[in-house]
Amino acid sequence: MSELIIKNGFVVDPLQGIKGDRMDIGVKDGKIVETGTLSNPKTIDAAGMTVMAGGVDVHSHVVGPKVNVGRLFRPEDKLFKSPLKSPTCSRMEMGFSVPSTFKTGYDYARMGYVFVNEAAMPPLHSPHVHEEIRDTPIIDNAAMPVFGNNWFTLEYLKNNEIENNAAYTAWLLRATRGFGIKVVNPGGSEAWGWGLNCVNIHDPVPYFDITPAEIVKGLIETNEHLGLPHSVHLHCNNLGNPGNYVDTLESLKLAEGYAPKNDFGRKQVMHITHLQFHSYGGDSWGNFESKAKDVMDYVNAHDNLTVDMGQVTLDETTTMTADGPFEHHLCSLNHLKWANVDVELETAAGVVPYIYSPKVKVCTIQWAVGLELALFSKDLMRTFITTDHPNAGPFTRYPRVITWLMSRAARDATMKTFKWLDKTIDATSIDGIDRELTLYEIAQMTRAGPAQALGISNTYGGLAPGMDADIAVYALNPENMPSDPAMIEKAFSRCAWLVKDGVVTVRDGEVVAEPAKRTVWVDVKVPENAQVQRDIYEHFLRHYSVKLDNYSLFEEHLHNPRVIEVDATE
């Protein structure tokens, strides 16, 4: 395989603590190597540019059934919003807020990303998820099956059977070729089977008689019992409602007393996703306000937590979540079309289009809340950039989010477009924050931090020799940053170079190669568990609508796998 050397760039690699030193990076056989070992490398001149590891997205809805419902039922998301096919790409690119699989892969690559963690996989639909992964070019994908409303999980945890739940979890990760434990509105989506919800973390789930708090604690124990690469990944109860920061703080406190146990360098026991949607004060839309400070004070003080933003980008987008009752609630607010899929024994999902308008007070407050979370953070290795794509906005807006975080001027310019600027300022702290993040901090939030939280920082998110040769070069000079924030956005939108697995994949912002992508999954060995085998057999015999032998993903439907092995037999 050909060799590469990326010369003279300003290297930013938080995993190694490199803060913009001028260094060369060597690449050989798809891996990063010491430059001394190269014999006759091709040179990429990165002088005057920033060199980072390929980006890692901790939470994004890019593949699977509800994403595809979002595509199917919104033809208007394509109309006048799709670019013409690039002559350098093999396939067309359609859609804006929910792009086609091809556009998803190309756009992530153009932004310098190489790894995207699909945020919610309904286990019953895992063959669908893997079909879409096959058709998403370039980027490596993992997908997290949802557990927080799964009948097996609810029954085991109700009886405090952590070992059984662990055995079931290991079985389901293997059956779906999944990556980790996702929890969405624990208990609430099961209650939604009856049109109900769990309104706080102590509200018991109908019939199963277990509370969301017990589900979350049980899953943290399960996760650490197994020692998975990633932690429990939680979408809290009561998303999106005024005053929900109280519930969020209660959810965060569930992690108290737990310490991470794993061999993957992960330091948290719980990742709380799209925290923006969970950091609201007030008791109505009238007195809706930011509680980002209160929430981040707690997160800053507890280093067994990581969070991601879920930043509102002020676009017309498509919301989609396994939080079925929330989507129903949302459609009663905006009266747009509503899709819903309840999935037997496992989960639910809803999809509703949404317009985050700078003319709507609640939307502009939400915008401020997201930015405040990052700007109040004391540890950006634990605070990640996401838009909960496509819920708060499409992932293609990450460069804009980065620009808002790096530039007070960019924030001010956006705020000038707000119809209710005064009310937004009153309800938030955004106007009092002058902090501007550095490139090093952005690298923490977009590659080093997420990779560490996902437990994959030995492969992704850094530039140390031996790691995958996934390298993004941005046309930004840290010693001479552009005064116009728009230039920052431009640089992060289309990287100067992306090397993926040692292959030059993007050049001058254009995709020039489509190297094989991978499916990353976690295979956990657990002791034989006859009880769990019997429970699985019984539920499939009586309650599932598919046969057990047709449920587990067939090997032929898993594409270019990279398996992470975990031994939990001890």
Binding site: R74, K78, M92, E131, L336, L345, N550
Partner: protein
């Protein structure tokens, strides 16, 4: 010893039964027995090895007869037809796997074709309603485990989806429905007193073509408004009774069929059915589901949505952007206007299903049929390419009517030399690329000049 293959998926209807047990002869060449399947599914398996199969592509000769040709020749013919056509149409896909659909899309994009599936003449009107109003639905196991009220409207599963009622809706005992049929109220609404109506607790004989009015009456009642003495041929008392049952249900599902999609009102009928479902969710839990016909007709809607964002009627003729506008880009409309100059019929029978005028127009141009069997389309084609039967001879993923992916198995080998839809389309794609390269070598290269592309 004959071999039993278990957990086999059935390539007949959208119910996608995956519990078939198929017994295959010692030599693996004959299907001896099929257990658990309905009469129609059973027949599909037996047909595979029961009679003569077409084993080679057949090309029409000047004298009107077919002559066997090799797959290479057939691939070359198909690629040249596509390459030379201005606006080819590739239509069908109800009866193949998703792998084949993905490969066909690659061909259509390369050739600049219109890509359409049987929804175009079936549940396409459902898509139109879904575009406008959404789709509050569930998987079939939810109905089985939770539903205490099941409503079939304009659908006759007793004939069209033979095991639907026993697997998912009326008869099975689920987690919260341990008494099976006894724990459920079954309502059937149909202008015809069908065999499905026979098993209903309540049957409403809606006046034919007046479904919309009846939905409207239900919505009015659910929302607490007065209705006239009689609506759409149904007495007020009965409407009040059924509305009350719906409102008091713990969990209900509306299954609807062609009776809504293809009677007066079409997409509007489906639209108001969705609206009624939405209304009912203000009180309790209701879901709605289209009774999709063929076992994988949900598939192309899924595959093409993730590839292009549109489920059907995809115009890819511009080659750089996809466009969907049913009426303009739908197969029958294109054919009636004689707008297509080549036609590939795959995994369906347009010869039997399209209006005769549309078929006559299509027949003026090259017509290729890709199908395991002899059908009306294959008999009027210029080229018939046989392929393996998905679910019997070719494995793959199919989408059940509730969008749940089912992994189908292979039970026996296809007849010697016969390839899959996927392989066939991959080979056509490869040949198309070669033709393009040859064409580019001969003519001026028409690629866009290199340079900066406009921002979004």
């Amino acid at each position: 010893m004959p071999k039993k293959v278990e957990n086999v998926g059935c390539p007949y209807c959208g119910v996608c039964c995956d519990d078939l047990v198929v017994t295959v002869s010692d030599d693996g060449k004959q299907i001896i027995e099929v257990e658990n399947a309905c009469a129609i599914g059973n027949q599909i398996f037996h047909h595979a090895t029961g009679g003569e199969r077409v084993k080679l592509p057949r090309l029409r000769q000047p004298d009107g007869t077919y002559k066997d040709i090799s797959y290479d020749e057939a691939v070359d013919y198909a690629a040249k037809v596509l390459y030379n056509a201005k606006k080819p149409l590739i239509y069908g896909f109800g009866s193949t796997n998703c792998e084949g659909m993905a490969a066909a899309a690659k061909v259509a994009e390369k050739a600049g074709a219109v890509l359409d599936n049987c929804a175009s003449i079936c549940h396409g009107s459902s898509f139109l309603a879904i575009f406008d109003n959404g789709y509050p639905s569930c998987t079939l196991g939810e109905t089985k485990n939770r539903a205490d009220v099941v409503l079939y409207w304009g659908a006759n599963p007793a004939h069209a989806h033979p095991r639907h009622m026993s697997r998912y809706s009326i008869f099975p005992r689920g987690f919260f429905t341990g008494k099976g049929q006894k724990s459920r109220k079954i309502i059937v609404i149909d202008p015809r007193h069908t065999d499905t109506a026979q098993v209903a607790d309540i049957y409403l004989q809606v006046r034919q073509g007046h479904d919309y009015e009846l939905f409207d009456a239900f919505r009015a009642v659910v929302r607490g408004h007065e209705i006239p003495e009689e609506v759409a041929g149904i007495k007020r008392e009965q409407i009040l009774e059924v509305a009350n049952i719906m409102k008091k249900a713990r969990f209900g599902t509306i299954f609807y069929g062609m009776g809504l999609c293809h009677s007066d009102g079409r997409n509007h009928n489906v639209d108001i059915a969705i609206s009624l479902t939405r209304d009912l969710n203000d009180y309790t839990k209701w879901t709605i589901m289209a009774m999709r016909g063929h076992y994988n007709i949900t598939g192309p809607g899924a595959v093409w949505s993730w590839q292009y964002g549109f489920p059907y009627c995809l115009d890819l003729t511009k080659k750089d952007i996809a466009h969907m506008n049913p009426g303009e880009t739908s197969s029958v409309d294109l054919a009636m206007r004689d707008e297509v100059d080549a036609f590939i019929n795959i995994g369906t029978d347009a010869g039997a299903h399209f209006p005769i005028e549309a078929v006559k127009h299509l027949r003026k141009h090259p017509w290729i049929t890709i199908d395991p069997n002899i059908c009306m389309a294959s008999e009027i084609s210029d080229l018939h390419i046989p392929v393996g039967i998905v679910g019997v001879e070719v494995p793959g993923i199919v989408y059940r009517m509730d969008n749940v992916p089912i992994q189908y198995r292979k039970v026996i080998d296809p007849p010697e030399g016969v390839i899959s839809d996927e392989e066939l389309f991959e080979r056509i794609h490869k040949r198309l690329c070669e033709l393009e390269a040859e064409g580019a070598a001969k003519a001026e290269i028409k690629a866009a000049p290199a340079g900066v592309r406009a921002e979004e």
